[in-house]
């Protein structure tokens, strides 16, 4: 099979579903007030795109997602590194972090609204908190899982700590870090959707909630589809990055 065929085969099933959906809608088997036809959703898409409303909301949501991810991810990564490399740091913070980890971060929504209102901070806080743990836990696991024989080898050859980190420890921890990254990307969208649905004055979640008020079911379905696409986009990006940096890994050699 050619590379193109292999890449496009994954899109065959969604395409079939959409076609069947359209056919069933037109034949009257699916009522328009339950689930609008794909063509109606496409029309809504076109209308919102022309008005600029759609792009603005996508932009707002993406910005929140990425900013929250950057904050939570970098703190999680830094703490994962610190606790993986330093026993003292781990002894001091890991127990606390493991306790906090067991609180579902979405359970904090009422508290977060009390603290921040429905401003940007509330959403950033929730997304950051959500992505923090998968990144933290997997970075820590990755570093602890680095083969001690390789670390000893690096020391024997006179690698200084910085060099040892860049050449042995970080590359060794990378597969686990990527697992955390992909997991965190999923949590990032999930958290944002919930946060925007509950309290927001812009963004995709807000757009969907507004549409619900006015019974614009095509816009609601459109928002859901866009979330799916954005999630897929983030995952594709992570995969691409993984492929590039883990080319040495037997799992990525074809």
């Amino acid at each position: 099979m050619t590379a193109l065929a292999r890449n496009s085969i994954g899109w065959l099933l969604p395409l079939t579903i959409i076609l069947a959906w359209e056919a069933l809608s037109r034949a009257g088997f699916i009522a328009a007030n339950v689930l609008p036809a794909p063509s109606a959703v496409a029309a809504a898409f076109w209308k919102l795109l022309l008005s600029g409303e759609l792009l603005r909301n996508i932009w707002v949501s993406s910005w929140r997602a990425l900013a929250g991810f950057a904050i939570g991810g970098s703190i999680g990564f830094a703490l994962g590194l610190a606790n993986g490399l330093s026993r003292l740091s781990r002894d001091m913070t890991d127990t606390t972090l493991q306790m906090v980890r067991n609180i579902p971060h979405l359970a904090l929504i009422p508290l977060v609204i009390l603290w921040f209102g429905i401003g940007e901070e509330a959403k950033l806080f929730l997304v950051a908190l959500g992505v923090f743990f998968p990144i933290y836990v997997n970075t820590l696991l990755g570093i602890q899982g680095v083969d001690p024989q390789l670390v000893e080898m690096g020391r024997i050859y006179g690698m200084k700590p910085a060099r040892l980190f860049w050449r042995v420890i970080l590359p060794g921890a990378l597969p686990a870090i990527f697992t955390g990254l992909r997991y965190a990307l999923g949590i990032m969208w999930l958290t944002l959707i919930v946060a925007e649905t509950i309290s927001a004055s812009s963004g995709l979640g807000y757009m969907a909630m507004q549409a619900r008020e006015f019974l614009m079911i095509d816009v609601v379905v459109l928002s859901i589809l866009i979330y799916a696409l954005l999630g897929k986009l983030a995952d594709t990006f992570a995969r691409l990055l993984e492929r590039r940096t883990l080319a040495w890994h037997p799992a990525f050699q074809t």
């Binding site: 024989q149 000893e152 024997i156 990378l174 890994h249």
Partner: protein, 277 residues
């Protein structure tokens, strides 16, 4: 323990052997009164060993006799409890160690794995040039750009050898480097190791449980038993030696019988693990 099977009793503190050759030159390294204890358990109890520069020394012994510990001390990976190790005119940094596992970085190309051996010595293009020359020496120059995961066990160990030698160490410590290889690859590697050693003249210390390997490769064989030197023999056979020749077999069985010791073999009713497969 072993005493009555030996033609001479093991001295409580074995004297340093007189070495007929190279006595004028500086020693490769000199070990005096070496003691190593781990949590109260004494692994090495007073080892004295002078190894002339360029000698190929093999250390054999049962598992747990302290041979790997001795090698780690020599390579500076652990600190002795008592005693000293003097490295001739060189530094500990001039000692490289090779393990049973190749310990290659899976995320670095073969040539970049070899340049690890030049950490702090050279970097960039000159380092890669030197690494490529070493790879040619172990006949892997055409695999320089590959990932270690696609190499066979023997090839990986050859990369590890190139990495150990690229910094031109004075002493190469080998901790059963061929132990995990199949019999044929092993004999090939022995030939390669001998060729490289003769070409460069570093001091080689090979720890092995394979007496035949020791006899084929070494100038001198030291038998360690319970943390002491129990036997120290020269191997005056001409090189290159071949497995299975009568001289090799004779020396091998002599060392084996002393290693096993009548006492030990009788008590267990069979030969212990040191017997070569």
């Amino acid at each position: 323990m072993l005493d009555h099977t030996f033609p001479y009793p093991i001295p409580a503190s074995p004297k340093v052997r007189e070495i007929p050759r190279d006595v004028s030159g500086p020693p490769g390294f000199e070990i005096r009164g070496l003691v190593k204890r781990f949590d109260g358990k004494t692994v090495l109890q007073g080892v004295d060993l002078v190894v002339p520069r360029g000698q190929f020394l093999a250390i054999v012994g049962k598992s747990g006799c302290g041979k790997s510990t001795l090698l780690r001390l020599l390579a500076g990976l652990d600190q002795p409890t008592e005693g000293t190790i003097r490295h001739g005119d060189a530094q500990t940094a001039d000692t490289r160690i090779m393990f049973q596992e190749p310990r290659l970085l899976p995320w670095a190309r073969v040539v970049d794995n070899v340049t690890v051996g030049l950490t702090g010595i050279a970097s960039g293009k000159p380092a890669r040039e030197r690494a490529r020359r070493r790879l040619a020496e172990v006949r892997l120059e055409d695999r320089a750009g590959e990932w270690p995961s696609v190499l066979s066990g023997g090839q990986r160990q050859r990369v590890a050898l190139a990495r150990a030698l690229v910094g031109e160490p004075r002493v190469l410590a080998l901790d059963e480097p061929l132990g995990a290889l199949d019999a044929l690859t092993r004999i090939e590697m022995q030939g390669l190791l001998e060729r490289v050693w003769r070409g460069q003249g570093f001091t080689a210390v090979l720890v092995t449980h394979d007496v035949a390997e020791a006899v084929v490769l070494a100038d001198r064989i030291v038998v360690l038993d319970e943390g002491r030197i129990a036997l120290d023999v020269d191997v005056p056979l001409p090189r290159p030696r071949r497995h299975g020749t009568p001289e090799v077999a004779r020396l091998e069985s002599r060392i084996l019988s002393r290693l096993l010791g009548g006492d030990h073999a009788e008590r267990h009713g069979q030969a212990p693990v040191v017997v070569r497969a």
